[in-house]
Symmetry: C2
Subunit: 725 residues, 2 copies
């Protein structure tokens, strides 16, 4: 064992450390009281609903996982055109991703009543519970992720004795299961939560004129369940996927760059250092007992900044000490971090009610909902400019610093590692992201149990705090998704090489040149497949890529509107049929709304999620490798822009509405407010269902292309085979 | 002169023939009475407003044209890195495009009162005037286009004595002026028309509760002016641009394919044959005096089908007789036609109120405007699937039939020619497109002059008829835009070669290999620039391409909402300040609304239009040729999908609203109707401003890249120059 191998031990160790701290925070949280019986009861409804939903979702996912695992066994063991570790990696990845989501949800549902109860005492004690619970989720996701990644390397390299090269290439396959499960969680959870939310608002707030989270609204529990299964469990699975995806991609590219063990270990060590920095940062978040909202925000910012500084220093130190010959990589990592920060700031500008864009959307409510929609869409669209430029510059710089001009492989590795750098402090940024929904649910609990107004005000303050800190987190998530996908596409080309080695001479496209294929570089391989840039198949692939993004958006947006539609009819039915419900004299049938949302979400999540696998496979089957490369590039470009647009216009609409609710432009109940609610409702589906799912879709399609590469090479491109005749 | 050269004469001859028929139809139309004095007065208001607007627009455009022409003179004559015919071509192209729009507008404004007056007699006589006036526009646009194209070839080849090769390459530069002017017309006209329309509807229909086109509404004349400057003049300039663009692209690629004169002449001959087929088709549109709406639709269909059959037969005959060695091109042309028809049918399905998608949007109005928006967006997004597949298959087939597998250049030429085939019957399809706005304006005139209800009903029937036939026309326009842009991107690579020849040895990127550059093929050239597919610059270019589309959409959508906002405030002001206006006792100040819309449109059209030139030049300057190629591919993929989405969701919202107005789901005045109006308003900006402008943007960016190729080669890619140091 050389000294670099020794540093690798940091990864599993800090993973376990993270999980230990998560369980400490968890038991700390559990010690607080869940409050009066009514509070417990509401919390238990939400908890049961969320569990029931997730159980159902995992059942559906399990069936689909088994089918695909069987397919992978067939491809790997019978046809021998695929890496044979993929079936296991697929199942295990799915399991870990589901576990991340489940644990997050379980913590969040335990924390909400406790947070509401603590809010009776003070804002600060409520913050403490909510933030520590968020930290449980943050550290759990990151801990499981790092455990999964380092465990995979230990098993492959040290137990199964694969060479570093083989282990690294195999690891890419480990991401697919995680991403696939995450896609189900985001899409299904997103449809559930936004269907219930939109449905509840449409009849409750707009038609019946009762406040949000009013216990008379039959969809109110479903709405709260949704926050947990969508915003918490969905986000957990999603970020687990982003986190491990960025590491796996770097590990795979380390081999392209001929960086060997040092290159494989680096992303894991960065993540380990990030974990430790996050834990320290989390401990730094404290404030005096009677702190103002501003002070609380400052405290959170302090924690995040401290972690960022620590990870920067330790990474620089690590690189200089252990791999001084690759000190350019420091530049790559910093370029990635910088791009993430710029995206976060730009997100804040375009979405926060403190700045012009959201205020202008609010002003446009004076001319009705149509102009609110037009204005919001245009804000979302223009907000793509800065992130694209930031990612572009980040890519070029991390490519350059890593030495890409003399060695393209190293440049691409630099890009992949910059994404790892961006996500390294996920432990703490996710903590600040995750406590938002907890505070939101605590507010719901307070409302439903008819607490004094100041309790709700305090939970609302926490929720608003969460919105601001979440912007930076989102910037990092989106930026890293673009960089990782780019790296994965590069990985795809690499995989073509090794698949060719695996396939041997039997391929019709290869002919006599097979002996030399392993010595070709990326350019030559592309050329080998007649895949020059203007290849019609590449262009068609690019078209299909853009189209897939749109089809995915169409299906998920429609699913939300369909789910909302069912909820609206159910709530209307209950208002009509259950006598005394609106007067508060009879109890609503909460369970039926949960059931309806569950059924709608399950039904609607399958086809869009399957697209991530079916489309690249089918594209490869019909128009071959160049088509798949086009598909990946086209979907990345369009999907990145659409994902940012959806996230930002959604958040801007939300904040424009809140800006009006604060008493501007006529305030609550005015025509302007009603117009802004229309924007907010459309934005809910944008920002919480479709937008975040897109990031997963993009990455998953690239990973699927990689693992189906052998299949595509052997059986693909039928159109050329047909037309050449 | 060989026999192929003789057939070329068909082009200028049929161009003149088209213009003669246009003037015959024009004087036929002029013979009809403009009706009672009130009708004339309203018509003259609209005519004056439209002229005033266009004059203003042309003034602004002229200034910008002069600036760019001076730049082109500098690049061509001083720096000698650009073709020196471009400044003239640029100015002349802009002039012809403007002329097309102006003549169309002038015909339409003359026809509206006459159509309204004829509608007093019968539906059929109104149809006759409207359709013949539409035909004036159709034949004028196509006639001027063919005259421009064939004139350019005559001047370059026969007068200036350039070789066929030089003439063909130079001709591509002729498209830029036309496209640039068309972009101004579409963007400026689109902002004017939709700003006025949305503004008028928001205060008139929704706030004041007065019907559309009510003379009490101060924005009503501006609304009608808008139809003429946006839907008529904008469309005229736009289709002029599409038409000449597809021909120029084919001509330029004929040289790549080494097809020589035969390849250069073919697209012009196809267009000439299409012109003659269109004239015959137009004459075939007649119906009995008391025909029903269905019979009228049939009559129109008969005309279009007859033209399609004629062009097919004559093209096949031409190819078999004159270039039998290239009979594969027949397959290419038919593949293009077929793709266009499929796109048209799919457009009809997704937008017509006779089918499920629009009906479902109407149903979603039961749960309010937010679900109408979500549903409409999802319909628009899913409607991209069939067109993408159709264009993809069309591309592959026209590539294959043209012999692309053995010679890529021929394959690309096949794609370009298939776009020419698609647009060959533009003479008649544009006629059926253009009479819609004429009927719409006639309806406005009838309303404002308080005609008996049946007059308005008849013009409405004509308008509805126009909507249905327009779907097919739009399919062809969108499909051909994708194919032409693809061909232009291919042309870009060609231009790189000739620019290199022009530049000689002085380029830093070229170094010693300059002597061999002219012998390289496309692949090798790309490789030469280190431009392999995964080149980071290509990927960044693709990102920028997607972003440009979004930024363009953001700016234009916002401009509409801003223009509408100003109109709303002006109308509210007039309602408040002009006493008796709402009671019909005082006259509205129509001119002030026209002035406001004009100012807003002029102000807002400049930046998005300039983007089409600035972005490719700047991208090339910063990240060089590979970046520009990425930019073009990324914007094509995203822009094509967004353009279809915008066109189709806009039309579907419109028809969903009309479906409700017919008495479904509560009918006019219900909550459902109000919700559907929100969708329609958003859709107006989508389908009439942003969507159609996108097609021009895409083509223009590729042409600009081509003409700035020399500049990019010599001064571009500064980032590499900086970072390599």
């Amino acid at each position: 064992m050389n000294k670099i191998e020794l540093t690798f031990i940091l990864a599993p160790v800090s993973a376990v450390l993270g999980l230990i701290f998560a369980s400490i925070f968890h038991s700390q949280m559990k010690k607080f009281s869940e409050g009066e019986p009514e509070m417990r009861k509401i919390a238990s409804y939400v908890k049961e609903g969320a569990k029931a939903y997730l159980t159902q979702q995992y059942k559906v996912a399990a069936v689909i996982f088994i089918i695909f695992a069987a397919l992978f066994v067939y491809l790997g063991y019978v046809l021998k055109i695929q890496n044979k570790y993929i079936p296991y990696a697929f199942i295990i990845g799915g399991f870990f991703s589901a576990l991340s989501g489940y644990l997050g949800m379980s913590t969040a549902t335990s924390a909400s009543a406790r947070t509401a109860n603590a809010a009776k005492t003070s804002l600060n004690s409520a913050l403490k519970i909510a933030f520590r619970s968020g930290a449980v989720m943050g550290l759990t996701v990151v801990g499981l992720g790092l455990l999964y990644v380092s465990g995979a390397f230990i098993v492959l390299h040290y137990i199964l004795k694969l060479s570093v090269e083989e282990a690294a290439t195999t690891m890419l396959g480990f991401g697919v299961g995680a991403s696939f499960m995450a896609l189900f969680a985001r899409v299904g959870g997103g449809i559930f939560t936004k269907g219930a939310d939109v449905g509840a608002d449409l009849v409750g707030k707009i038609e019946a004129g009762i406040p949000e989270d009013d216990p008379r609204n039959p969809a109110v529990i479903a709405d709260n369940v949704g926050d947990n299964v969508g915003d918490v469990a969905g986000m957990g699975a999603d970020l687990f996927e982003s986190y491990v995806g960025s590491i796996f991609a770097s590990v795979a590219l380390a081999i392209t760059a001929s960086l060997g063990l040092a290159g494989v270990v680096l992303p894991m060590v960065i993540s380990a250092l990030g974990m430790i920095s996050s834990i320290i940062g989390i401990y730094a978040v404290r404030s005096t007992e009677e702190a103002s909202q501003k002070q609380l925000l400052k405290a959170l910012g302090r924690g995040i900044n401290l972690s960022a500084v620590l990870i920067t220093i330790t990474t620089i130190a690590y690189v200089l000490i252990f791999i001084p010959e690759d000190k350019g990589l420091i530049g790559s990592i910093l370029a990635g971090l910088l791009a993430g920060i710029i995206i976060g700031k730009s997100t804040e500008y375009y979405t926060s009610a403190d700045f012009k864009p959201a205020q202008k959307i609010a002003e446009s409510s004076q001319t009705g909902p149509a102009t609110v929609i037009l204005h919001g869409l245009s804000v979302g669209m223009i907000s793509t400019v800065i992130p694209v430029i930031a990612v572009g510059i980040g890519m070029i710089l991390s490519f350059t610093f890593a030495g890409g001009f003399s060695n393209i492989g190293r440049g691409l590795y630099g890009i992949a590692v910059s994404a790892v750098g961006m996500l390294s402090t996920l432990g703490i940024t996710l903590s600040t992201d995750a406590y938002g929904p907890i505070a939101d649910n605590a507010g719901g609990n307070a409302e439903m149990t008819k607490q004094k107004p100041y309790v709700r005000e305090r939970t609302d303050a926490l929720d608003a705090l969460g919105n601001t800190t979440a912007a930076t987190g989102k910037g990092f998530a989106i930026g890293s998704a673009a960089l990782t996908t780019m790296a994965l596409i590069a990985g795809y080309i690499e995989e073509i090489k090794s698949a060719l080695r695996l396939l041997g001479k039997n391929m019709m496209q290869i002919g006599e040149n097979i002996k030399n294929i392993t010595t070709l570089n990326v350019d030559e391989i592309i050329k080998f497949f007649n895949g020059h840039l203007l290849n019609v198949k590449v262009v068609i692939g690019i078209f299909i890529g853009a189209m897939v993004v749109f089809a995915f958006c169409a299906m998920t947006l429609r699913a939300v509107s369909r789910a909302a539609y069912s909820i609206v009819f159910e709530v209307r039915r209950q208002f009509k049929e259950i006598k005394g419900l609106l007067k508060g004299k009879a109890k609503a049938d909460y369970a039926s709304c949960v059931r309806i949302s569950t059924a709608q979400a399950q039904k609607s999540m399958i086809i869009p999620s399957l697209m991530a696998i079916v489309v690249p496979v089918l594209t490869g089957f019909v128009i071959g490798i160049p088509g798949v490369i086009g598909l990946l590039l086209g979907s990345l470009a369009t999907g990145f822009a659409v994902a940012i647009m959806m996230a930002n216009s959604g958040a801007a609409w939300d904040n424009a509405k809140k800006y009006i609710e604060k008493g501007n432009l006529g305030g609550k109940g005015s025509q302007q407010h009603k117009a802004s609610v229309v924007g907010d409702t459309v934005g809910d589906a944008f920002k919480d269902t479709t937008g975040p799912s897109l990031n997963i879709l993009l990455k998953l399609m690239s990973m699927v292309s990689v693992i189906f590469c052998g299949f595509t090479l052997k059986y693909g491109d039928i159109i050329e085979k047909l037309l050449r005749k």
